[in-house]
Amino acid sequence: MFEPPIQRLVDELARLPGIGRKSAQRLAFHLLNTEEADALRLADAIVEMRRSVRLCSRCFNVTADEECAICRDPRRDPSILCVVERAQDIPVIERTGTFSGRYHVLGGAMNPIAGIGVEELRMRELVGRVETEHVAEVIVATNPTLEGDTTAMYISRLLKPAGVRVTRLASGLPVGGDLDYADEVTLGRALDGRKEL
């Protein structure tokens, strides 16, 4: 046990993902021994981020404005929607530089085993957007897990009546990897998704 103010910070830090007791103590003492201005800047950044960031009213990406930068960008093609589980998946896809449409953040994936269904996700909003934004193609970029696959199948069924094209990210082998390092499940899916040369 430390003095109450230090202990309080250690407890808060230890609640962060990937931070154990030991790391929390190390960080707390680092913040104690650093320049006061540096520590306050960190505190201020957290407060500022929490106060100003909200969800884009169109795609539910994080933004400081009513709509996010991607939705406001006139060069983005509104007829292609990329559906992701979480807002933090957007920068990952943006970094590829190969997608020029807009996004839709579901807020998670269906998990029938844990009882996470469609009410917990932004499915109704997705259907609404497909209808009002004249979307021609929906690319489902959920994770290649049972939950992500289930969500993708549900979206495909849900959007069938709307007549929109629904595609799924191919899953396969990591670029630069060794074939004999892949597990048979991944390799099987790569075979299923093979392309004509």
Binding site: P112, G115, I116, G117, V118, L146, P174, G177, V185, T186
Partner: protein, 239 residues
């Protein structure tokens, strides 16, 4: 500090620490297994795809104080077709959820294991029979000692076909045993459930659309009543 081999069906997993996962499996020999798979959330791991839910695997485990660590995994059956069929995944979800609720650690679960394996095998073969979840629930409840009384009165044991069903009493009730809360079930429903309880999951009798939905509802409520838990997966599937 011992290594041992086992077999199991992956029920679910969740992230643990930076790159690990806790993987929950059902083993015929030891019931529910709580294991750690180290480093599987990194893309370089060759374990990742093998430990997805619904996969039947052979394992080599390193016995730890709290959780056993998986040192080797090989896939016996990954059920690849099942994963591409939404109705099959939802049905499998209920099977797995039920097993996860009732299985205990360090307690052999041979019947439950065989039933789950048969259920997944049946869903893999497809198409999904409308009563497969109902049959699974009634049979799996029986495997853990929650047998609904369908061909004899749950109160006095008198054999016969009765239509009053009590969730609290655990089955049908005769006229002299009937309680005020007992439901009058649709004609033929009790026999329908009894036939499902006796059938092999891979070879169920033809579904009757006029009874199928109510049979599912009765099986679900029966299980939920006695486990005192809701089956979230069925709420997802029925939404």
């Amino acid at each position: 500090m011992a290594l041992r081999s086992d077999q199991g069906i992956v029920l679910r997993s969740f992230p643990f620490g930076e790159a690990d996962k806790v993987v929950i499996l059902l083993s015929p020999n030891r019931g529910k297994l709580r294991t750690v798979a180290k480093g599987v959330r990194k893309t370089k791991s060759r374990f990742g795809g093998r430990l997805e839910p619904l996969t039947l695997v052979d394992l080599v485990l390193y016995e730890g104080r709290n959780l056993d660590t998986i040192t080797q995994v090989s896939v016996i059956e990954a059920h690849p077709r099942l994963r591409t069929d939404l109705d099959a995944v939802l049905a499998a979800g209920t099977m797995v959820e039920f097993v996860d609720l009732v299985a205990q650690e360090d307690e052999p679960a041979r019947r439950l294991f065989l039933l789950l394996r048969r259920g997944l095998e049946t869903l893999e073969a497809g198409p999904v029979h409308p009563d497969v979840v109902t049959a699974f629930l009634v049979k799996a409840a029986d495997a853990v000692g929650l047998t609904p009384s369908l061909v004899a009165c749950a109160g006095c044991g008198t054999p016969g076909s009765f239509r009053r069903f009590s969730f609290a009493e655990g089955g049908v009730l005769c006229e002299s045993c009937r309680t005020p809360g007992a439901y009058l079930l649709r004609e033929g429903l009790v026999e329908y459930l009894a036939a499902l309880a006796d059938a092999d999951l891979g070879n169920l009798p033809d579904a009757d659309p006029s009874l199928s939905g109510e049979a599912r509802g009765v099986a679900r409520r029966f299980v939920e009543y006695h486990l005192e838990r809701r089956l979230g997966s069925m709420a997802v599937a029925d939404a």
